[in-house]
Amino acid sequence: MAVKIRIPTPLRQLTKGVDLVEVSAGNVEGALQQLCAKYAGMDKRLFKQPGELNRFVNIYVNDEDIRFLENLRTPIQDGDDVSIVPAIAGG
């Protein structure tokens, strides 16, 4: 499945400024692995260890946090929008 991954500012130095990266995968983990394969250093930013995201990395498929779906195993469809969003404060 072809999906677009939205890259937040703190990671764009790795993608040379590119903010949308197209990959093809069946689930979120596959998509992120492809992203990591494409850009050196990405893996360390996103994953604490294989299969475990860093604490402050939030991943959304379309408008839903993957922790409300099936986490890294969340399936993705053609045209889905995957976003990487750092955790932020507020109130």
């Binding site: 860093n54 402050f56 408008d63 750092p86 955790a87 932020i88 404060a89 109130g91």
Partner: protein, 425 residues
């Protein structure tokens, strides 16, 4: 001049100069302001603080600003009130309320963080400030931006209380209601901050913004006569204020301003949105995000960014957490009003109700000093009590009519004493 050395990642220790960034480029961890505490020795003292202005800038040596304050000249220095009536009702010896429902100019603790963020935004050369907000932050950003002469964009969930919507609009910001909950708004703002080069106070100015929350803790200590309460009960939403109150206590201890009485800090949430309290009670570091369902909208944040640090501060201090149902929140709002003359919003009700439970369960001993953090004002959230209060009778303007009213009133039920929540578990 200031004592700021720069920004430092809380997770991996990577350092950065002062600029509008909030996450570490290496590990995504949050950045925090790093001070030269050694240089403060002998220069920053109780006396130097006491010689400062009667507002939150009296603590400016411990805040991350380099130039002159741009707003907040009348913010902070809110009442720390001894709650004698509640002490009797709850059977505790020493209870204080730190009352930011009286904070100026928009009646919540947010004046503290926004005063610092707006001042920093000007220093860093921004002309537009913004925020993702459950209401109070939007009110404060709108007002302080007006004071500092900045443009303001405030983003809120679409279903906020009218008082919180009008409480921003009156100051003339551009307000956008987002069809989603706070966590959706927050995510959008993160992307907005990326794209439009604005100072979103709780996104790219977060390291500076959160430091302002320390002044709440500094004031508690100074107002108690340079000592700390043994137990502090604090609401948790995104997780900004609790770790910063704890940091304020630790800074005052380390600088020798107060004795180290091993202060304990406790997190209060609404039962309908309790991801942090749930993690504390389960002994977990991991926060499971939730979809909020509570009347306490100002603390309805299901994916708290700093939740992890709340858990760490609570655990490190030996504190605990408790939550309150919507019914308990309303009872506690009424109790606080009828015992202490303070009208707080549901976040304050949740905090008092949680404190009552922590006392009843023995987590907080009855014979030690306790401070309950009241961080917002009930006038902004009239919706939550409008159906909870008996509407007043109307009578003809004649004395006989009044006499009949008094006779009816005396025959009617005595109003129940609002102490129902005091036996909660």
């Amino acid at each position: 001049m200031s004592y700021v050395l720069g920004l430092k990642c809380r997770e991996c220790g990577q350092t950065y100069p002062q600029k509008g960034v909030h996450v570490c480029e290496l590990c995504f961890g949050p950045l925090e302001v790093h001070y030269d505490y050694v240089a403060m020795r002998g220069k920053v003292t109780r006396e130097s603080i006491q010689a400062g202005p009667h507002n939150l800038w009296r603590y400016r040596d411990l805040l991350p600003i380099d130039g002159e304050p741009r707003s907040g000249h009348h913010s902070g220095c809110t009442p720390l009130k001894r709650a004698r009536n509640l002490e009797r009702a709850l059977g505790v010896q020493e209870l204080y309320l730190k009352d930011d429902s009286a904070n100026y100019p928009t009646w919540s603790y947010k004046e503290r963080v926004v005063s610092v963020a707006v001042t920093k935004a000007v220093e860093l050369g921004y002309d537009t400030v913004g925020c993702a907000s459950t209401g109070n932050l939007a009110n404060s950003v709108a007002a302080h931006a007006a004071i500092a002469g900045l443009k303001a964009f405030v983003m809120i969930p679409h279903d906020l209380e009218q008082g919180k919507v009008l409480g921003s609009l009156i100051f003339g910001p551009t307000m956008v209601r987002i069809r989603g909950n706070y966590d959706d708004v927050n995510r959008l703002c993160s992307e907005i901050a990326d794209k439009y080069k604005w100072a979103i106070v709780n996104v790219n100015l977060r390291p500076f913004y959160t430091e302002g929350a320390k002044t709440y803790g500094f004031e508690i200590a100074e107002q108690l006569g340079w000592r700390l309460p043994r137990h502090t009960v604090c609401p948790t939403a995104g997780g900004t204020i609790l770790p910063k109150i704890y940091k304020a206590y630790r800074e005052f201890i380390d600088l020798g301003f107060v004795a180290d009485n091993q202060p304990k800090i406790y997190s209060a949430q609404a039962a309908g949105c309790n991801p942090v309290v749930e993690a504390i009670c389960a002994g977990r570091d991991l926060i499971k995000p939730q979809k909020p369902r509570t009347i306490a909208k100002s603390i309805a944040i299901g994916n708290p960014a700093d939740g992890y640090y709340v858990v760490q501060a609570v655990r490190h201090s030996g504190g605990w957490g408790a939550d309150a149902t919507d019914a308990e929140i309303i009872e506690a709002i009424k109790l606080l009003a009828r015992m202490e003359g303070i009208w707080t919003e549901p976040a304050g009700g949740a905090t008092l109700a949680a404190a009552i439970k922590l006392i009843a369960s023995g987590r907080i001993p009855r014979d030690e000093s306790i401070c309950v953090c009241i961080t917002g004002n009930g006038l902004k959230t009239v919706e939550v009590v409008v159906d909870q209060l008996e509407p007043p009778d109307s009578i003809e303007p004649r004395l006989e009519a009044f006499d009949r009213f008094i006779a009816r009133h005396a025959a009617g039920e005595a109003p129940p004493l609002p102490v129902a929540v005091s036996t909660g578990t």
